[in-house]
C-alpha cells in the first residue's frame, strides 16, 4: 500500500525540476557560499583599516606606530590614497582623520598628540602627558576594541627602552633614589634596550615612510593612556538598528520583488498576457507598469520597516526623511528591476522560486544583509560591491548613522540607478520571447 504512494511521489519529484533544485542544489550551493565566506577566513583574515596621525613626532611615537604597522591585523593609513586630482596627498591631520571616520572611510582613527612622547607610559593614568586618542565609529563595535588591545601590545613589544626608563622613574618617585651601583646596572640595561629599540626603529623605518599600513589598539586602563571618543553615533541609542532595518529590508525586498514579478509567468501561463498584449498595451508598457508597481511595493515595505524601527527601536526616522526617500526609491528601483529580470529569464514559477532563493540569499550573504561586510575578508568585501544589498546598506548607513546630507549619496544613488536601468533593459530584451512567435 505504501510503496505505490512512495513511487508516485518519487516520480513527481523527479519531474519537478524546481523542487529538485530547491531540495538538492540550493542547500549545497549555500553551504559552498558560506564555506567560501567564512571557511577561507583563516587565509585572508579581515584587516581593520585605521588612520594614524602622529602629531608628536618623537621616537616613542614613531616606535609605537611602527609596532602597529608591523601587526598583520591592521591596515594603517597616514594619508589618503593618491588620486588624479591629488597625486601626492597630504598626510591626515586630527581634523581630516575625524572627517574620514565620520564619512565611513575607516572605523577608527588614532591620534598621537603633541607631548605624548615626553611621558608615554602611564600605568595609572597619572603621567600628566596627553593620552592617545582613538576616534571611533560606533557602528563597528569590534574595531575600537581590537585597536585598543593592539596598541597595548605594540607598547610592550616595540618600546622596551621607553618602558624600562619610565619604570625606573616610577621606582625612584615612589621608592626612593637608586644607589650608584644600582643606577649603573640600570643604565647598562637601558643602554642595551635603547639599542634594541633603535634597531627595531631602523627596521621599521621603510614601512613607516610608506604611509599605508600599521596597527593600533585603545584602552584607557593599559600601559599607555588611551582616550576613546565616538565621533559617529555618539548620541544614537541603538547603533545597529538602522543597519539591520536596511539590511533585512533589502533582502526581503528582493524576495518580494521576484515574487511579485512572477505574476508575469502566471499571466503567460493563463493566456492573460496574450490578451493584454493584443490590447493597446505594448511589452515595454507592460514591463514598465510592473516595474512601477514593484517600486511602489518595495518603497512601501521599506517605509514600514523604518517606521517600525522608529516606533519600537527609537530609530531617528523623521529627521532623515529626504535621505530615506532618495535611498528608498533608488533601492526600490534596483530591486524591482532585479525581480522583473528574473521573471523574464525563468520559464515557470518553480524555476523562479529556485533561482530567486539562490540569488537573493547569496547576494544577501555577500552584500552584508546577514552580517556586516566589515567582518568579511577584503576579497569578500569587494565581491559584495556586485550586489544591490551592499550599495543600499551603505547608503542607508550614510543617512541614518553618519547623518550625511543627500549629496553624499551620489555614489550609491548612481550605482543603484545604473543597476536598475541595466537590469530592466536586459529584462526587456529577454521578454521579447513573449511578444511574438
Amino acid at each position: 500500500m505504501i510503496t505505490p504512494i512512495v513511487r508516485t511521489a518519487i516520480l513527481a519529484l523527479r519531474r519537478d525540476r524546481g523542487s529538485m533544485v530547491l531540495s538538492f542544489v540550493v542547500p549545497i550551493a549555500f553551504f559552498s557560499i558560506f564555506a567560501v565566506i567564512f571557511g577561507g577566513q583563516h587565509d585572508t583574515v579581515p584587516k581593520i583599516k585605521i588612520i594614524a596621525v602622529d602629531e608628536d613626532q618623537t621616537s616613542a611615537s614613531q616606535q609605537l606606530l611602527s609596532g602597529l604597522e608591523n601587526d598583520g591585523s591592521l591596515t594603517v593609513l597616514t594619508k589618503p590614497a593618491p588620486t588624479k586630482e591629488q597625486p601626492q596627498p597630504t598626510p591626515y591631520t586630527a581634523a581630516t582623520a575625524e572627517d574620514a571616520v565620520k564619512a565611513g572611510d575607516v572605523s577608527v582613527a588614532l591620534i598621537v598628540p603633541h607631548g605624548w612622547g615626553a611621558n608615554p607610559i602611564s600605568f595609572r593614568g597619572d603621567s600628566g602627558a596627553p593620552s592617545i586618542q582613538l576616534l571611533s565609529d560606533q557602528s563597528d563595535v569590534i574595531a575600537p576594541q581590537m585597536v585598543g588591545g593592539l596598541l597595548q601590545k605594540a607598547a610592550m613589544t616595540s618600546m622596551p627602552y621607553t618602558m624600562a626608563e619610565q619604570g625606573m622613574k616610577y621606582t625612584e618617585q615612589y621608592l626612593g633614589a637608586y644607589t650608584p651601583e644600582q643606577r649603573k646596572k640600570m643604565e647598562d640595561t637601558l643602554d642595551r634596550l635603547r639599542h634594541l629599540q633603535s634597531d627595531q626603529g631602523k627596521g621599521n623605518a621603510g614601512s613607516a615612510s610608506s604611509s599605508s599600513t600599521s596597527s593600533s589598539g585603545s584602552n584607557t586602563g593599559g600601559i599607555i593612556a588611551v582616550t576613546t571618543r565616538s565621533v559617529v553615533g555618539e548620541n544614537k541609542k541603538s547603533p545597529m538598528i538602522s543597519f539591520y532595518a536596511a539590511a533585512i529590508g533589502v533582502m526581503f525586498l528582493l524576495f518580494t520583488s521576484t515574487g511579485s514579478a512572477g505574476a508575469l509567468l502566471d499571466e503567460a501561463e493563463s493566456g492573460a498576457l496574450d490578451r493584454v498584449l493584443s490590447s493597446r498595451i505594448t511589452m515595454t508598457g507592460l514591463l514598465a507598469g510592473k516595474l512601477v508597481f514593484n517600486i511602489l511595493l518595495a518603497f512601501t515595505q521599506l517605509t514600514l520597516m523604518f517606521l517600525w524601527a522608529w516606533a519600537v527601536f527609537k530609530l531617528d526616522f523623521f529627521t532623515h526623511i529626504p535621505g530615506f526617500i532618495v535611498m528608498g526609491l533608488c533601492t526600490a528601483f534596483a530591486v524591482a528591476a532585479f525581480g522583473i529580470l528574473l521573471a523574464s529569464v525563468c520559464r515557470t514559477r518553480a524555476q523562479l522560486g529556485a533561482l530567486s532563493t539562490l540569488l537573493v540569499l547569496t547576494m544577501s550573504a555577500i552584500g552584508g544583509s546577514m552580517f556586516p561586510r566589515y567582518l568579511m575578508s577584503e576579497a569578500m568585501q569587494k565581491a559584495g560591491l556586485w550586489t544591490i544589498n551592499a550599495w543600499a546598506i551603505d547608503g542607508f548607513t550614510k543617512v541614518f548613522w553618519r547623518d550625511l546630507p543627500v549629496t553624499a549619496l551620489w555614489q550609491q544613488v548612481s550605482v543603484l540607478l545604473a543597476i536598475g536601468i541595466v537590469l530592466f533593459a536586459v529584462a526587456r530584451r529577454i521578454a521579447r520571447r513573449w511578444e511574438y512567435a
Binding site: G271, R275, R280, Y436
Partner: protein, 320 residues
C-alpha cells in the same frame, strides 16, 4: 440582453472587409504551420474554422490577432495591418484559455481589460455594465473569478474579449468544458452578437456548434484551407446527392472487414459505412452481405452532415 454598443470610431469603415488574409505563410523551423492561406470575410458574417489538432488553426488565429509575425503574406482587419493599433482596437479575442485574473472580481477583470484598451470614465462603466448583462453575470459581478463556476468563467472570458466593443471577434473554442446549460447560454450570447451584425470567427471541434452558428465554414488541414463554403455547399461538394448507410454486421473474424473493404466502405468501431447514390442500392448491399455469409444486426440511413464532410476531407487517422 442589451444592444451591443458599437464603437463610433469604427462606424466609418463599413466598406472595408472585416478581415482579409492574403497568401499567409508561417513556419516554425521545418514545420509549415500556415501554408499560403487566403481568406476574406464579409461584414456581419460568422465563419467557422474547423480542423484537426495541429492543423494550423491556432497559428492562423494568432496571426490575425497580431501575435504571430508571418513569414510572408498579409492580414488586414478593416484595412489595418494585424497588430497595428487600429487593428487591435477593431479586434476582440476570446482565447481558449481562461485568460483572466483569478484574484480579481468579474467587474475588476472587465475594468482592467477595458482600461488596457484605453476606456475610461463613463465609457468604461457602460462597457462593463453591458458585458455583465450580456454574460448574465450581474449577480456575481463582485465575486472573485476563482469562486465562479466553469460556465461563468467561460462567459466572463468571452465578455472580456468584447469589453472594448470590437467589430470583429475571434472566438477560440469558447464552449470547452462547460455543461449543456452554459453552452446553450453561450450560443444565445453569440446569436445576440450576430443579430447586432458582429463579424465572428469561431473555432470549435463540435460540428453541431458550427452548423448552428456559422454562415460559412473553413476546414483547415496541414496548414491549408482545404474547403470553404456554406454547410450545404460543403456537403454537396463532398457527397452530392449521396447518402450514408450505416450497418452493423456479424460474421467470422476478418471476414467483415474484408467484405466491407471489397464494397468500398469503411469500418468504424464495428459499424460499416457505405456511401450510396439512392435508396435502391440498399437492397443490393444487403443481398451481397447475405451472400458473403454475414448477418445484419442493425441498419440505418443517414444524410451526410458536417462531421461526414470533415471526416471525409481530413480522414480518420489520429493527429495527436
Amino acid at each position: 440582453m442589451s444592444t451591443y454598443p458599437h464603437s463610433p470610431s469604427l462606424s466609418p469603415l463599413p466598406l472595408l472587409s472585416p478581415l482579409q488574409v492574403n497568401a499567409l505563410v508561417k513556419r516554425f523551423g521545418q514545420v509549415v504551420a500556415v501554408d499560403d492561406i487566403s481568406l476574406e470575410m464579409r461584414a456581419g458574417e460568422c465563419l467557422g474554422l474547423l480542423g484537426p489538432n495541429g492543423a494550423g488553426k491556432s497559428t492562423l488565429i494568432r496571426a490575425i490577432a497580431g501575435r504571430v509575425i508571418p513569414d510572408s503574406g498579409q492580414v488586414a482587419i478593416f484595412g489595418a495591418s494585424a497588430g497595428s493599433p487600429q487593428a487591435r482596437a477593431a479586434l476582440g479575442w476570446v482565447p481558449q484559455d481562461l485568460a483572466l485574473y483569478p484574484r480579481l472580481s468579474a467587474t475588476e477583470n472587465l475594468r482592467s481589460f477595458g482600461s488596457y484598451y484605453g476606456l475610461t470614465g463613463k465609457k468604461l462603466d457602460q462597457a462593463v455594465t453591458w458585458c455583465l448583462d450580456w454574460a448574465a453575470l450581474q449577480d456575481r459581478a463582485g465575486d472573485l473569478v476563482s469562486t465562479l463556476s466553469g460556465g461563468m468563467k467561460r462567459r466572463l472570458n468571452m465578455a472580456a474579449g468584447l469589453i472594448h466593443q470590437p467589430r470583429l471577434v475571434l472566438m477560440d473554442e469558447p464552449t470547452v468544458g462547460v455543461d449543456p446549460q452554459s453552452r446553450n447560454r453561450i450560443f444565445e450570447m453569440i446569436e445576440a452578437l450576430r443579430a447586432e451584425g458582429m463579424t465572428i470567427i469561431y473555432t470549435t471541434h463540435y460540428m453541431e456548434e458550427a452548423e448552428r452558428l456559422c454562415d460559412r465554414i473553413a476546414i483547415v488541414d496541414h496548414g491549408r484551407i482545404i474547403a470553404l463554403d456554406t454547410r450545404e455547399a460543403l456537403v454537396h461538394t463532398s457527397f452530392a446527392s449521396r447518402s450514408q448507410v450505416l450497418a452493423r454486421l456479424e460474421g467470422p473474424p476478418g471476414k467483415v472487414s474484408e467484405w466491407v473493404e471489397s464494397r468500398r466502405g469503411r469500418l468504424v468501431e464495428n459499424t460499416a459505412e457505405f456511401t450510396i447514390e439512392g435508396p435502391k442500392e440498399i437492397a443490393a448491399l444487403l443481398d451481397a452481405a447475405s451472400d458473403a455469409g454475414l448477418e445484419l444486426v442493425d441498419l440505418s440511413l443517414r444524410r451526410p452532415n458536417l462531421e461526414s464532410v470533415f471526416l471525409h476531407l481530413t480522414g480518420r487517422e489520429l493527429r495527436d
